[in-house]
């Protein structure tokens, strides 16, 4: 509570206004709300209102454990939230980068709802306090150094003159983490805010609302007072970038400045216009994108001139804890992709089956098929929710995620009517076709590298499920569409939700089979499943009844490569629609 309290005497008026603040618990969720839904939690039903920027949030909700890079980004998010602010941890320990949670609750819907009510009480009581401590996110700390404009190798902590040429040194900024001042912005969600600090703690005046006032006054110490001249160092602050071009006026001799001279060194767009370029970083905790996805758009006006996109930096061996006993392998593999754990578990079981250590039987096949199709429904629903938020359809965002949570919480009861209703409503949404058609179209060439719904949207039906005799008996047909654009991908996923629902209903309730592990016949085994994102396959090496080596081929890795060419020269909104429509899962990338 200490680092979130706002330092001020809790007067009557302040207590009143904090009561009002507690009515609506505006929350920013890390890593992302979808992961909570995957664990059966409906955050909005529990009484949180989700917001899309930390600036408008009062509560940081941590719903899953954070790998180191996301933990650093979460610390930035927390620092960006204006005080008073709280941290709610939902069934997960907090990383060291964040201050301790104000409230920790178990990952169960009922407990969460109680916790949110308790959080409201904390908000009413603890918004203002006479003791408040500072929270410093390491990545945000900047310090000033001084360098010579002519000799960049001259860098010192004090202002002065250059020993080589005698010019006055100019200030530049470096960040706290290892001096890679360009890099630290990549860690921050909302990186354009990455460099800024708001008035925390020790430089906050007691008891008034003017804590912002000294923001600019406070030039010393760790905080940087705002030089305008070196914006180029921070790619994201591109709109200040024009400062750099003022230098040209010198060449012009002070008179009329020709447009040609002024734009001489600027990059050209395909239409020949010279425009300022600047970087807009999205991720890794941008609420519209899957958590863990790092997307940096270099914008030329509002069109994407260039982009960098990356995800994942975990090694699969560490993630799985190899070598792994055969009976634990499937469970460990299921932890790889947090957005489709059940699909990976089935993949692991099938690989063990292939090795001969597990007997195939009908019940197992039926059970794993049912699990897989359920996972597909849940995964598509979560995707639909993300897509709806991005498209400005908040009802879709809320309802799809809530349905996914309900579905995960209670796998026995199939919400058939709600699902059919939701799909129907999406299909009937006016202008959706116009909004999405022709956006992010994959060319024939790119399409051959895609898999799953992204590929089937273009009419190329390659679905490993079509070879499954069990599904053939159930009359399975793979959904497809005739346009490899965002609309096609939406249409295919909607069809798949209904088809999977039908399959799950036909299969009926199948009790989980007992798994009896024997010894494997083979040294290497492989398996393939049609995961919600496409064909995933695994090859395992077995030594002395232990899985010693795993190589995984995950659909998102292929799709990540398609994203960059697909968003080139698109407008920002269309670029985001394209990326989200590809349904990347950052967890299965880069393993």
């Amino acid at each position: 509570m200490i680092t979130g309290t706002r330092q001020a005497h809790p007067s009557f008026l302040r207590r009143l206004v904090s009561r009002v603040l507690a009515i609506e618990r505006r929350a920013f969720v890390v890593p992302e709300a979808a992961l909570a839904a995957g664990r059966g939690l409906d955050l909005e039903a529990a009484g949180l209102s989700l917001v899309s920027t930390p600036r408008h949030a009062s509560v940081l909700v941590v719903v899953d454990d954070l790998p180191p890079d996301l933990a650093r980004a979460a610390a930035v998010v927390y620092a960006q939230m204006p005080r008073p602010r709280w941290i709610l941890s939902v069934g997960t320990p907090l990383p060291e980068q964040l201050p301790p949670a104000d409230l920790t609750v178990d990952a169960e819907q009922a407990v969460l709802a109680e916790g949110v009510a308790e959080l409201g009480r904390l908000m009413r009581m603890g918004a203002f306090g006479s003791q408040a401590e500072d929270f410093v996110a390491e990545q945000l700390v900047t310090r000033s150094q001084y360098t010579c404009p002519m000799h960049p190798e001259v860098v010192q902590d004090e202002p002065g003159t250059c020993p080589k040429c005698g010019m006055d040194l100019v200030p530049q900024e470096t960040s706290g983490d290892s001096g890679e001042h360009a890099h630290h912005h990549g860690d921050g969600e909302m990186d354009h805010q990455g460099g800024e600090r708001h008035g925390h703690g020790n430089h906050e005046h007691g008891g008034d609302d003017s804590s912002d006032e000294h923001e600019m006054d406070h030039g010393g110490g760790m905080e940087h007072s705002g030089h305008e001249g070196h914006e180029g160092h921070e790619g994201h602050e591109g709109h200040e970038g024009h400062e750099g071009h003022e230098g040209h006026e010198g060449h012009g001799g002070g008179g009329f400045m020709s447009m040609v001279a002024m734009t001489r060194d600027m990059p050209r767009s395909p239409d020949g216009l010279a425009m300022e370029r600047f970087e807009a970083p999205y991720g890794p905790l941008y609420p519209g994108l899957p958590a863990g996805l790092n997307l940096t758009l270099t914008l030329d006006g509002d069109a994407v001139a260039d982009s960098r996109i990356s995800a994942g930096n975990t090694r699969i061996d560490d993630l799985l804890g190899l070598p792994s006993p055969l009976d634990e392998f499937a469970d460990r593999l299921s932890r790889v992709d947090r957005l489709a754990p059940a699909a990976y578990r089935v993949l692991g079981l099938r690989a063990i089956e292939d090795s001969g250590a597990l007997d195939r039987n009908d019940q197992m096949a039926r059970h794993s098929t049912s699990v897989l199709e359920r996972q597909r429904i849940a995964s598509h629903l979560i995707w639909l929710s993300r897509f709806g938020m991005l498209l400005g359809l908040p009802w879709l965002g809320t309802e799809a995620v809530s349905l996914a949570a309900r579905f995960q919480r209670n796998p026995g009861a199939l919400p058939v009517e709600s699902l059919e209703d939701l799909v129907g409503r999406v299909r009937r949404t006016p202008l959706l076709n116009r909004r999405l058609s022709g956006i992010g179209t994959l060319s024939e060439d790119l399409l051959s590298h895609a898999t799953g719904p992204n590929q089937r949207a273009g009419g190329v039906v390659r679905d490993s499920r079509t070879e499954d005799p069990l599904l053939a008996d159930l009359g399975f047909t793979a959904a497809s569409h005739d346009a490899a654009d965002a609309y096609g991908r939406l249409a295919v996923r909607l069809d798949e939700i209904l088809e999977s629902l039908r399959l799950v209903r036909e299969l009926g309730d199948i009790p989980a089979p007992d798994l009896r592990f024997g010894s494997p016949d083979k040294r290497t085994a492989q398996a393939t499943v049609e995961s919600p994102r496409g064909t995933a396959s695994v090859r395992i090496d077995i030594e002395q009844n232990l899985v010693s080596k795993v190589s995984l081929e995950a659909p998102s890795s292929a799709h990540l490569e398609l994203a960059r060419p697909a968003i080139q020269q698109l407008e920002v909104a269309d670029a985001l629609v394209t990326i989200v429509s590809l349904d990347l899962s950052p967890w299965e990338i880069g393993l």
């Binding site: 600019m216 600047f278 970083p281």
Partner: protein
Amino acid sequence: MSVLWSAIFLMGGAYVIAVLESWFMTSRFRWLAPVAGLGELAKEPVIPRLSDRVFYESAPLILLTVPLLGFAVLPLTPGVIVTDLATGALFLNAALAYVLVALVMAGWGSHGAYAMVAGWRFLGQFVGYGMLVVMPIAAVAMRAQSLSTTEIVRSQEALWNAVFQPMGLLVFLPATMALGFMPPIDLPVAPGELAGGVSGEYTGPRLTIFRLGRLVLVVTLATAVTVFFLGGWLGPVLPAIAWTSIKVTGVVALMLAAGRYVPRLREEQVLMWSWKFGIPVALANIFWVGVILLAV
């Protein structure tokens, strides 16, 4: 008295809109939603580093002042109008133009990539739709033979402008939505795309003013639609103020319903519709009104 009544109407309108908006956006009806928004006052007012301080500070204030000025020339009943300017319709246009200034200043001043993109987006949107606000008002004034807003309402005694010049309403309604950056034409705030857009960096009292300014703007725009096209206070049986309130609420509900059920339009489509469809229709409307006035 007029000032007092107008202030009460404005505050009531802002409250109703906040309730309706939260209802349409979250599917939950909450009487307290507008009050909860005031909790933001407890939050720390953050100034982004390297922000343009003058722009950053003044943008929310301008956004609040401009619709207040615009509202001052709109009649609620025959007597209740803050100031019945002879050039009221023109004044309203002039005032609304500064919404653009406020948003571009907020976007630039925040010193953030998302906010800036959002601010420039609004520039493009406004240049297109500002025309579609002016042109239907011109046609409305032609019929009333006056720029006074009270005269404009009186001119509709026989027939509302919504019926007399439906093409005008057809372009004026979306244009006011674009001006008030309401979904689906909410490019400058675009939740999901730009993380709050122009208002994304504001916190605490400044954010409260920004949100209040937007609510007042929506009240002003909805009242303008009522005054110019729906016959303002005119109506049988009920008192004048009741008719104004009902019509304004109806207009707002229509706008919000569009926001709920229609996905956000692409920037390209927003601009295409204004220039390729809106402008010709607005011109045709002026021509139509002119012909009718000359012929009848």
